[in-house]
Amino acid sequence: MTVLVDRATRVVVQGITGHQGTVHARQMREFGTSVVAGVTPGKGGSAVEGVPVYDAVQEAVDATGANASCIFVPAPFAKDALIEAVDAGIRLAVVVTEHIPFHDMLVMYHYARGKGARIIGPNCPGIASPGNSKVGIIPNVVFRPGRVGVISRSGTLTYEIVNGIKEVGLGQSTCIGLGGDPVVGTSFVDALPFFESDPDTDALVMVGEIGGTAEEDGAEFIHQHFSKPVVAYIAGRSAPPGKRMGHAGAIITRGKGTAESKVAALEAAGVEVARFPYEIPAMVAEAARRGRR
């Protein structure tokens, strides 16, 4: 069993004729993903890296049975691309595109949710399960099949940490990069239940960042519902407090959102928090050996 993606995942790449779309379609294939179609309006009938290109997602789905989408289209058109995917029956959409206005993402999130579709991202590296499937842009070289799950709000820091896990001789069950935008399709709280019920995951690594309260919310969930050992890292302990304008944000979070608050919440939930990324591999190896939290 895997989390959200498996060998039956059939990917359509929206924006496949762009540079990033082309490069990552190839790398997904090299990972073992079934990349069955690409979509770029106006380029239907062509092919990229041997993948047939269609004008519309519905055409791609009808012709190839695609059931997941990886979206690379530029920010001004990302909302439209997502709605098209959801309307074509896609139920998992990984949105790699960065700089999507959060007002657009609010619409995307609630639209997808209403139709029973899940978004990972935006501004995210995607999801990968070594030996099964990858939808997104995480470099193939960092992976090795194994039993450590990873949920992260970061991009490159995720690669760094996943690679570290490999270098100590462990491997990953599934790795999800949630993206660091203010509004994300899948949060820690949304992703944690998948790893709790995944028999192939023995231990979990959670990578957070300062800002927002997603880590605090995740800690609360772990405390109540998560039985496996968790090792966490929070980036930004040394970051200077941002210059603020207006006070509404401070009222919503009421002292949460800082590195201290996140570390305290996680530790209170029984999570071991690494001070530095290079401490994680040894900590998760030890946690996996020990078993329960």
């Binding site: 540079h19 990033q20 920010a75 001004p76 960065e98 700089h99 999507i100 206005p101 959060f102 007002h103 609010l106 619409v107 999130y109 609630h110 842009i137 470099p139 070289v141 960092v142 992260s152 709000r153 970061s154 991009g155 490159t156 820091l157 995720t158 690669y159 760094e160 690679n163 660091g180 203010p182 509004v183 949060s187 990578v207 960042e209 300062i210 927002g212 309260t213 997603a214 919310d217 890292y233 980036a235 930004g236 302990r237 040394s238 970051a239 200077p240 210059k243 304008m245 207006g246 006070h247 509404a248 944000g249 401070a250 009222i251 919503i252 009421r254 001070r275 530095f276 990324p277 290079y278």
Partner: protein, 377 residues
């Protein structure tokens, strides 16, 4: 984020029909006086410094005037101020209104619920952080139907409004909701929102527009933020560049890895001075530009920490070597590199040929950067 000054925020509000005092902006004492003399600002009036920081009233940055001469004097006093590190370049002159109760209204984003959040409080006119949670009413708003009638009625009721002021609130909230959506705002805040006679008037305006939506709002492009000169150049080149107080330059890719790098340097006793996030790029020219920008910040040492994904190691190495060629010998700085990930071998080879060794261990390479900064003149 694009933070608008009060007068700019009020300009946006006016466009959508939010009730405001009559007022004008002045950039000199003479202009202030002539605006009053011409009757464009009724007397008595209030003169407010146009700065982004709060606490203007207590800080002497808000004054009152009963005559055109007094308005001139007040403007003169305020325009010379440096308020909380910000030079006052403009004042807003507004009619002084007979104020009743002072309320608080804001619209922002609730990231956890992934919904817009309307907050109202009858305790306006003071810093909202000092108001007890129980006295703030929070209502999330679904973006699809938009702000509903019952939500506005609930806001009016909890603010203790009825009759004219309640009707005024109904219109005002509709207008705010429109501003929030159509102008891609991430924060709209009115504090205080005053009861004046039979209606409401927004006495202050905080408007923050989301950066990512800038492509839909070219009209805000002129609004300068509180960036340094180099930060402004970086912004034009689409490089994330932030200046801090220390002396070690950090070049990394991705916000998370950049922050983690700063954390490690700090822990090892270093003081990061500038950080630069390359983001995702596969253009060596952009890397070169980033390095040249870093050189202008005159760091004592530079730590390059890259994990290659979209940004490939060989791209970074190429851009770096080109930049080193362009930086005059006198302005060079010790460079400690750590490049991992996609095309790692090629990148390391390119660096080696330019005399730079990549240290694969994060702790060891960070330590080297700290040591180099310490022994730098």
């Amino acid at each position: 984020m694009v933070k608008l000054a009060e007068w700019q925020g009020k300009q946006v509000f006016r466009k959508y029909g939010v009730p405001l005092p009559r007022g004008e902006v002045a950039r000199s004492p003479a202009e202030a006086e002539s605006l009053v003399r011409a009757g464009r600002v009724p007397l008595p009036c209030v003169i407010k410094a146009q700065v982004l920081a709060g606490g203007r009233g207590k800080g002497g940055a808000v004054r009152f005037a009963n005559t055109a001469e007094e308005a001139r004097a007040a403007a003169e006093a305020i325009l010379g101020l440096e308020f909380k590190g910000e030079k006052v370049r403009a004042v807003l002159l507004e009619e002084k209104l007979p104020i009743g109760r002072e309320l608080y209204v804001s619209l922002t984003l609730d990231r956890t619920r992934r919904l817009p959040l309307l907050m109202t409080s009858a305790k306006g006119g003071v810093e909202i952080e000092s108001v007890a949670d129980a006295e703030i009413v929070r209502q999330t708003v679904d973006p699809f139907p938009g702000l509903a009638g019952y939500e506005k009625r609930r806001a009016a009721k909890t603010l203790g409004l009825s009759g004219g002021p309640a009707r005024s609130l109904d219109h005002l909230l509709d207008a705010l909701w429109k501003v929030f959506q159509e102008e891609d705002a991430e924060l709209l805040e009115i504090n205080p929102l005053a009861v004046v006679g039979d209606g409401l008037v927004a006495l202050d305006a905080k408007v923050v527009i989301e950066d990512d939506a800038a492509f839909r709002h070219p009209e805000f492009a002129e609004v300068r933020d509180d960036r340094t000169e180099l930060e402004e150049i970086a912004r034009e080149k689409e490089i994330a560049f932030v200046q801090l107080d220390g002396n070690i330059g950090v070049i990394a890719n991705g916000a998370g890895l950049t922050m983690a790098t700063l954390d490690v340097l700090k822990e090892l006793g270093g003081a990061p001075g500038v950080f630069l996030d390359l983001g995702g790029t596969d253009d060596p020219k952009k890397v070169t530009e980033a390095f040249l920008l870093m050189a202008r910040a005159k760091p004592a040492s530079v730590f390059l920490n890259i994990f290659g994904g979209v940004t490939r190691c060989d791209t970074v190495a190429r851009g770096l070597v080109e930049a080193m060629r362009q930086v005059p010998a006198a302005e060079r700085f010790p460079l400690i590199a750590r490049i991992r990930g996609n095309n790692e071998k090629e990148g390391i080879e390119i660096l080696r040929s330019a005399g730079v060794t990549s240290v694969p261990d994060l702790r060891a390479s960070a330590q080297a950067a700290v040591d180099a900064a310490r022994s730098s003149p």
